[in-house]
């Protein structure tokens, strides 16, 4: 019995495949239509899943999206900074810059120095417009000044200026009676105060508050004021959408209670909005492509049934039930969908890769799961699109179609 069934199935496969192979030239258009549909579909799906990651990185050029403050009066130590780095994970971090703010005097006027890791700050803020260049941790007396300060103090690139201030943790000591006023002043200067000549390496223009700061290497600043590392705030640029940032914040609060994370909502929200719109667009295009593919398969199958009326009539005259003839035509549809879908998956990856390279300047990962998924989708589509054409089989009367002319 098994071999008998096998033999029937073999004949079925023979008929279906011969019909496709020996009529290949007629079917190229149909396969092409399905393959193009599958190409666009699998390409778009690949991009769809890659967009959050790609766009996330792209959005990181708009600045820090997570600000970390100390909880309470205490400042953030080097150890806390390091454990934060570990907690977030190196691969998610685009930039992580600690800031220490210190009031200093220049020409007896108060200004604020922001001590930071300049290379990290640069990664956080690629959109800053810098005249000259960013300072570095080697030549620490070369610093950046905000555009506003540069204007008030009339500073140009390469100019020097002196910052003065009171060292960390020192209150002005009471003057000693036995010393003259000048001597007291000198003593104060030596013990409690600092002064340092700095060189303008860069001038920062952002259109924002940054223009009122001096940016210097944090270690230099610490040394200058005679203290160890203590940050007032950490600015982080992290690859994450709003949801992931919220999760990350909760995690940070739980794991490192002395920190207080704040997501920069304006940024993460607009990232999510752009992302949402892009994905909706991709989805829309996908649906349109599916519909167009269905229409083209439908018309192809319609034409095929019309073209093969005689053959269908003959099969019915030989005693084939409608169901059997329809299953053969559907079988051909499934095979078409399979071939077109398979072609499309690989072309689609190529397509997605090109788009990604051109738009985001990055490659993408091949999604293996996309192979069976795309093939299944296109088999389903061809079968769905074939239902109405294939049902035409029932209206074909052998006596009328096969009548001698």
């Amino acid at each position: 019995m098994a071999s008998r069934h096998g033999s029937r199935r073999r004949m079925y496969m023979k008929m279906v495949s011969s019909s496709l192979i020996r009529r290949a030239s007629r079917l190229i258009i149909a396969v092409l239509a399905i393959a193009i549909g599958a190409t666009i579909l699998s390409g778009l799906v690949t991009i769809y899943y890659d967009i959050p990651e790609q766009l996330g990185r792209e959005f990181r050029s708009y600045g820090a999206n997570l600000i970390i403050l100390p909880r309470g009066e205490a400042k953030i130590t080097r150890e806390t900074l390091n454990s934060l780095r570990d907690l977030i994970g190196e691969n998610k971090i685009v930039g992580m810059a600690p800031y220490r703010y210190q009031t200093v005097k220049i020409n007896e006027q108060p200004y604020i120095i922001a001590g930071t890791d300049l290379s990290q700050a640069e990664k956080n803020s690629p959109f800053w417009y810098i005249e000259g260049s960013w300072g570095n941790s080697q030549e620490t007396s070369r610093v950046m000044v905000g555009h506003e300060i540069a204007q008030t103090l009339n500073l140009k690139l390469g100019d020097t200026f002196t910052v003065q201030g009171v060292k960390y943790g020192q209150q002005a000591e009471a003057s000693r009676q036995d010393l003259s006023a000048e001597e007291n002043q000198k003593r104060d200067l030596a013990r409690q105060n600092f002064a340092k000549k700095l060189i303008v390496q860069g001038i920062v223009s952002t259109g924002g508050a940054e223009e009122g700061f001096i940016f210097a290497d944090v270690d230099m600043l610490d040394e200058l004021i005679g203290d160890t590392f203590r940050a007032d705030v950490i600015e982080c640029s992290i690859v994450a959408d709003a949801g992931e940032l919220t999760n990350l914040s909760t995690k940070i609060e739980r794991e490192i209670p002395e920190l207080q994370p704040r997501a920069v909502r304006r940024l993460t929200q607009s990232q999510d909005i752009v992302l949402g719109k892009l994905q909706a667009l991709v989805l829309l295009v996908t649906v349109v492509v599916l519909i167009i593919t269905m229409i083209s398969v439908y018309t192809t199958m319609m034409a095929m049934v019309a073209e093969r009326r005689r053959e269908i009539a003959l099969k019915k005259a030989l005693g084939a039930e409608n169901k059997l003839v329809m299953s053969e035509l559907l079988g051909e549809g499934v095979l078409l969908g399979f071939i077109g879908g398979t072609l499309g998956v690989f072309l689609g990856f190529e397509f997605a890769l090109r788009v990604s390279l051109n738009v985001f300047g990055r490659g993408i990962n091949f999604q293996w799961a996309l192979i069976p998924a795309t093939i299944a989708v296109f088999i389903t589509i061809t079968v769905l699109a074939s239902i109405i054409p294939v049902r035409k089989v029932m209206d074909i009367h052998p006596a009328i179609v096969l009548k001698g002319e």
């Binding site: 008998r4 011969s18 019909s19 020996r22 099969k315 030989l318 005693g319 096969l402 001698g404």
Partner: protein
């Protein structure tokens, strides 16, 4: 006296106000060789379609192998046709993308079980064993019609029906096909053939003439049947 394989009782086929068949009565014995002749539009195709379960009469009953097929629905007509009727056509109607032997196997497939061995034997019987792997386009008209006959016979039908089976053939191929009919007749196959060709009509045992949907003549040719046979063989 042989068994009655087919009986038409008061059969009419009416299209609007046209009677394609008008009150036909006919009975055919198993093993008979019958030819149907008559002018164009006289109802030959209509009659053979009704006998072949591809159409139903408007009035009357058709008894095929003890079953009244005029009362059956389309699905059971398909089944009866599959089991009892072998069809050959003027235009051959082979499936273009299948080889000769595969075309024969299609009939087996719809009937029961494809069997290549058996299909090859059927092709051998019509003298086409060496053309079995050719596609219809690679065969001559006569060869295509022989494939068609092999296909019609593969499931051992009760009746072999042909509507102008030699209509598209030259004289030589017509002779080959008629010879095959003769051999099948010897084997006891019931044959009903519509033809315009008097020669083909004359070789049958019995010839009926249709005019305006009526049988106007029913000629017993069994007396000359052997003669015609001899004549052919002497040629």
């Amino acid at each position: 006296m042989s068994r009655k394989i087919l009986e038409l009782k008061n059969v009419s086929k009416i299209y609007g106000n046209l009677k394609a068949l008008a009150d036909i009565n006919l009975s055919v014995n198993a093993g008979d060789w019958l030819s149907i002749m008559g002018p164009s539009g006289s109802g030959k195709t209509t009659m053979i379609n009704i006998i072949g379960c591809m159409d139903t009469p408007s009035i009357g009953s058709v008894i095929l192998d003890d079953i009244d097929i005029s009362k059956e629905n389309a699905a059971s007509l398909t089944r009866i046709r599959r089991d009892k009727i072998g069809l050959i056509f003027q235009q051959f109607h082979l499936i273009s993308y299948l080889t000769a032997v595969e075309n024969v196997m299609v009939a087996q497939y719809y009937h029961s079980m494809p069997d290549e061995q058996e299909a090859m034997e059927a092709l051998e019987k019509v003298g086409l064993a060496d053309r079995a792997r050719h596609l219809p386009a690679q065969l001559s008209g006569g060869e295509q019609q022989r494939v068609c006959i092999a296909r019609a016979l593969i499931n051992s039908p009760e009746i072999l029906l042909g509507d102008e089976p030699t209509g598209n053939l030259d004289e030589e191929n017509e002779g080959i096909v008629v010879d095959i009919f003769r051999r099948l007749h010897d084997e006891g196959v019931t044959i009903i053939i519509v033809t315009h060709d008097p020669e083909v009509g004359d070789v049958a045992q019995r010839k009926i003439i249709l005019e305006h949907g009526k049988i106007v003549d029913d000629i017993d040719q069994s007396a000359t049947f052997g003669e015609a046979l001899k004549l052919r063989h002497n040629n």
